[in-house]
Chain length 350, copies 4
C-alpha cells in the first residue's frame, strides 16, 4: 500500500539523515556562521558552475515569497501560470510578503507559460500610468504543476521577453531536481544560463527533511544589493534558522555525489513506468505528457475510486471527476509501482 | 574549549535525534495531518493540564510574530520590555507580520516588566482617540533576556492589569523550560493559570533541532476563532512545514519523560555553579540574579578578554565594556563549567 | 469643445461650491467633531431610510480599500468583475491596505457579475484548507465600468449567494448617483435592502470637489465593531481629514434637495441623447446598453480619430481599435452633446 | 470666544478660497495633468530656489508616511523625537505604509532632536547584523511639537550626522510656514541647503482647506527613482486626487505673494504677544521658548480651568495637570489674543 498523494509525504533519504547525525557534534555558531553553510555555498557554485549566493530556509513558500518580494516593488506584478503554486496554494503569501504586489495569472497549455500569451499580457500594461500595477517579474515553475518540464529553449525565450520588458525572472524549483533529471541537462542550462535571476531550490520533496534555498545568481553590485534584501527579508519573516547547520547539511548531502539527481531519477523513472501502463490501458489516458515525477491520470471516476479502495493513496484532482494526480517519490519502489499498475488493471476488470 | 555564546549553538539532544530517526519510516500525510502531531496535541494538554491547541513551527521569531498578530489589531500596541527579543532582535518581524502595529518598550529592573511601569504606560493611552495606537497585548519573556525569571505572583499581577484593560497576554518562552526548571513549578502555573493567552513554546535552544510551537490555551469560541487566524497566519508566512512529522516528533521527544526539564536543569545547574564562582570572586560580580541558564558577568574588560583568549567563547555585551553574557546549555558538561571557572580565576591572576 | 474623457474632469457644482463658502466661517473642531459631519450622518440616514454610519474621505480608492480591508481577513479573497476599478485601476491599493488579501476577478457580460459565474467561482474554493485564500466578500460596481446598472433583483440574487457562503457585500459607488437616477429607485433599494453591507458613496465624479464616504449600514454590535475598524483604518492611512467640515459640507450639499440625483440625471440624459444618435448612425453602435452616464461607442478607428480632431476629448478604449468611451457629466450641456453628435455625423462624411 | 485648540480648526484663508472659486471653470484633466499643478511645480522651484518635484496630497500623515516609506527599506528605522507626530499621533501610519519599519524615538530638550543623543542612539546599531533594524532616516519636525524651531545650524549638524551614517533626512513641515516666518530665513536655508532630502510641506494648518505636499529636492537619477516610488505610493494609498487642480490651486495661492508667510507671521506674532503676557504674569510661565505659533503655558490647573470657563478653548496637555497648549492661527485676531490675555489675568484674580 503506497502513497502517491505527494512527494512531500515521503520520508527523509538515508544519506541526508546520516548527514544530520554526522553534524550533530558539539556546538556551532548560529544563523549560518558555520562551515556547513560555507561549504554549501561552495558546493552549489560548483553544481551551478557560476557565482551565486545561497539563502537556506525551511519551506518553499517562504523561498518563493522572499525571492519575489526582492524582485518586485510593492506595486509590482508577477506574471505566473494560473495554476502556479504561488497563486493557488500559498494562501496569499507572496502578497503578504510584498503588500500591494499582485500576481497576474496567465493561461498556458500543459501547465506551462508561453511567450505568446505572456507577450499579450504584457501588452495590456504600460498605458495606464500609476493606476495599474507595474509588471516586474515572471515566475516559472520547473517542473510544472502539471508534471511537465520547460525546455531550455522555452525558458530562454521567456527570459528574453522578460529582459526586453525589464522584468526579473524567478523559478519555483520545488521539483527542480526532477526537471534536471528529466531533461538530463546541467542545472545551469535551465537557470542562469537561460536568464533566471533567482531560483527557489527545493529539496524537501525529493528527500530532505525541511530544506529549501533561494539561490541568487551573479555577483555584481545589484546582486549584492539584492542579497542584502534577501537576508533582511528572511530574518524579519522568522525564517532565519538559528541552528542553520542542520539545514545546510541537508542541502549539502542532497547535492553530494549527485544524490539529488539519483533520487529524482528514481521518482521520474517510476512515473514513466506507470505512464506507460496508462498509455497501454484501453480506458486510461494521460492528461499531460509525463516529463518529471507526476502523472495526471484520466480514468472514469468509478475506476479511480476502485484503485483507492485497493489501497492506493492519491488525490482526485479538483474540478474534474475523472482526473487524478499521482506523484512518485525518491523512495517509490518498483514494487510500489507494480502494485499501482496492478490496481489500475484490476480497477477496470470489476 | 566550550561555547557559552548562546544555547542556540548547542547540538540536538540525543533522545530528540533518536526520535527523528524513529519517525523516518515510510510516508506520512503532510502539513500536520499525521499521528505525531495528533499525539503532540494530546501530550501537551497533559503537560499543561488544560485544553489547548498547538501550532508547531521552526523559529521563535515566527511564533512570537504570529501570536502577537493574532492578539492585536493592526493598529494595536504591544507592551514589552525594552530589551525584549521581539523589540531588539527580530528586525521588525512583529511589525512586518502586523503592519501598523507598534511595540511599546517599557523599562524594568532585571529584565522584567512590572505592574507599576506597565500601569503608568497604559495610563498615557486612551484620551487621544484614533490618533494613538490601541494598547492590545503585553508580551513577557520567560525566562527573560537578563536570565531572570518572573514569579507566579508577578505574572498574575501583570495579567490582572492586562485583563482590566482588555489586553491579551503573550509569553515568549524561547527559554520556557529553563524558567519552569528554575521555578520548579507546573508549566500551567506560569501560563494559563496565571492569565497567559498564548505561549511561544521554545525547544530549539534547549535541545531540539528547529522546533517551536505557539500554544493557544482554552477551547471556547473566541479561542476557536483565534486558532483559525493562527493557522492562516502560519501558512501565508510560509511557516507551515510540509513534513510536519519531523517537527512534531522533536517536540514530542522534548516533553517525553520530562526530557525538557532534565535538559533545562542541567543548563540551570551549570549556570548556578558558575554564578557561585562569580560571587566568590573578588573582582567579578553578577549583573542580575541567576535564575535560569544565563549569567551576566561583570568583570574588568581585560579579564573578560583574557578568559576569551583562554578559549572560552561568549559575547561581550553591547553598551558596556565590563559586561559579558554566558549562556549554559543542555549539553554543558561539568568539565566545561569547571574550565570556564578556571579561566575566570586565571584571568585575574595575570 | 467639450471633455468626455471622464466625469472626474468636471468642475464643482455651484451649490457645492456655495456650501464650501458658507461653511468657511470661524473655527470648527477638527477630525469630524463638527456639526456638518453630525448633520451629514443624520441626512444620509434619511436618504437611505435606515441606521448607518458615514466615514467621509477624499478618494474612492481609499474608500474601497478601507471598506474591503474591514470586510475581509488578510487571507481573504474579494470576488469582483475582471474590469473592476479595484482590480485594474487602483495600483494594488486593496492589496496594500490588507496585505495577503487577493482580488479574484470574475468575468461577466456587460460589465456585470452574475450569480452563475460567481457560484462557479466559489465552488472552486473550500476543499484546500489553509492553502487557498478564503473567499470573504463580493464587490459590485454600481454603475459598472461599462456604463451598465445592476437591477435590484440582480443585486439581491448576488447578495443571497454571498450570504449563503458567509461573504460580505461591498458596493463601489463611484457613480452611485448615476445608478440611482438610472433606475429611478430608492437608494435603499440597491444597497442595504438588497443585502449590501458597505457602500463607497462617490460624489467627486458627480459634482463634488473631493468627497466620498464609506457608508456602513446597520447598528448591531458587529456593525459597531466594524465601525471602530473603519475609523482606525482611515486614520492610519492618513485619510482622516483635519478640516473635515469642508468634506462633510460637500456631501451635505450633494444630497440636499436631491442635488445629486438632479446632477446625475443630467449626465444620464445627455448620455441617452448621444446613445440615440449612435443607434441611429449606420456605422456606429453601442458596445453596451447605456444605463447611466457612460457610452461605449463602436466606430471605425478613423472616424473616432476624426471626432477627436474635431475637438471632442474622449478616451480610445485599450484593447480594441474601434472602441471609445464617452463619459457625460453633471455639467455637460445640451450644446456639448449636440456638438458631439455633430462630430459623429461629420466624422462619417469625410 | 476664540479657539486655541489647534490651527487645524481654523478656516480657509480668503485668498485661498478665492483661488478655489477661480479655478472652478470648465473641465480639467485629472490626476495632476493640469496647468495648476504644472504651475505649482514651477512656483515651488522659485520659492525653494532649486530643482524639486511636488507631490500634492490632502493630509500630512499621508505625506509623512509616503516620504518615509520611500526613504527607508521595510526593515529600516526612522529616528525621530519621542514626541513626534509620526510616532505619537498617526496611529501607526508610518509602520502601516512600510510594514516592518520601526520608529526609533529619541529624547531631546524643547521638542528638538540633537546631534549628541542621535549619535548615541546610532552608536547602538551596527553590530547585530540582520537581527536589528537598519537605521535609515532621521525625521525632524519643523516647527516642533513643542512650538520651538530648529536653527539652520542645528539642522545642518543633524544632516551631517545623517549623511555620515548613510541616512536620509526628512522634515515634517506641518507648520513649516511658522518656522520660516519665525526664523525669517529662506525656505531653502532649512531644507535642501541644510541637507533635507524630503519635506512634508504643510498648508492646511496655515490657511488651506486640505492641501499638503511632499517636496522631493534634487534632480539626479536617484531622485528620479524616488519620485517614481513616491508617485506609486501615493496612488496605491488612495491619495492621488482625481480633481487635483483644487489641491494644487490651494498650494499655489498659499505661496503666491508670500501669503503663507504673512499668515504664519500673524499666528507667530499673536503667540508672541500672549507669550509676553505669560512672562509678565506672576504665576504663569512658558514650558518652552515660543518660536512659532504655539505656546505651552504652565499655570495651576484651577486657573487653566478658569480660563476655559471664560470661553477660551485650548487643550490641557496630557501627562501634566498644570500645562496647556495654545495654538495661534492665521486668522487669530488681536481681539482674540487680547481676550485670551484678559482671561489669563482674570483667572488669577478669582
Amino acid at each position: 500500500m503506497a502513497n502517491f498523494r505527494s512527494d512531500n509525504e515521503s520520508p527523509v533519504a538515508e544519506p541526508i539523515m546520516q548527514a544530520l547525525l554526522a553534524c550533530n557534534r558539539g556546538s556551532a555558531h548560529a544563523y549560518g556562521d558555520d562551515h556547513w553553510t560555507d561549504q554549501l555555498n561552495q558546493r552549489l557554485q560548483e553544481v551551478f558552475e557560476t557565482s551565486l549566493r545561497v539563502l537556506p530556509l525551511s519551506t518553499g513558500t517562504a523561498g518563493n515569497s522572499i525571492a519575489l518580494a526582492e524582485l518586485c516593488p510593492p506595486w509590482g506584478g508577477v506574471l505566473c501560470h494560473d495554476h502556479a503554486h504561488i497563486h493557488s496554494d500559498e494562501c496569499g503569501a507572496p502578497e503578504f510578503y510584498n503588500p500591494g504586489c499582485k500576481l497576474v495569472p496567465v493561461a498556458g497549455e500543459e501547465g506551462k507559460l508561453n511567450v505568446e500569451t505572456l507577450a499579450e499580457t504584457l501588452s495590456r500594461y504600460g498605458s495606464h500610468g500609476v493606476h495599474e500595477i507595474l509588471p516586474s517579474a515572471i515566475s516559472l515553475t520547473q517542473s510544472t504543476e502539471s508534471g511537465t518540464v520547460y525546455s531550455v529553449a522555452e525558458i530562454e525565450a521567456i527570459s528574453a521577453l522578460a529582459k526586453s520588458h525589464g522584468l526579473g525572472m524567478h523559478m519555483d524549483g520545488a521539483r527542480f531536481g526532477n526537471a534536471v533529471a528529466g531533461l538530463n541537462c546541467h542545472p545551469a542550462d535551465i537557470t542562469w544560463r537561460a536568464g533566471i535571476d533567482m531560483l527557489t531550490f527545493g529539496a524537501s520533496k525529493n528527500g530532505a527533511m525541511a530544506a529549501e534555498a533561494v539561490i541568487l545568481f551573479g555577483d555584481d553590485e545589484s546582486t549584492q544589493q539584492r542579497w542584502h534584501g534577501l537576508e533582511r527579508r528572511r530574518k524579519r519573516a522568522g525564517h532565519l534558522l538559528s541552528k542553520m547547520r542542520y539545514t545546510s547539511t541537508q542541502l549539502l548531502a542532497y547535492v553530494e555525489n549527485n544524490l539529488w539527481l539519483e533520487l529524482a531519477s528514481n521518482a521520474n523513472g517510476q512515473a514513466q513506468r506507470f505512464a506507460q501502463a496508462v498509455i497501454d490501458h484501453p480506458q486510461a489516458s494521460l492528461a499531460y505528457p509525463v516529463q518529471a515525477n507526476e502523472v495526471f491520470l484520466r480514468l472514469p471516476e468509478a475506476q479511480l475510486l476502485a484503485m483507492q479502495s485497493l489501497g492506493q493513496e492519491f488525490h482526485l484532482w479538483p474540478g474534474a471527476k475523472d482526473l487524478a494526480r499521482l506523484v512518485f517519490s525518491h523512495n517509490t519502489s518498483d514494487d510500489d509501482t507494480a502494485a499501482l499498475i496492478a490496481s489500475l488493471l484490476q480497477s477496470s476488470e470489476s
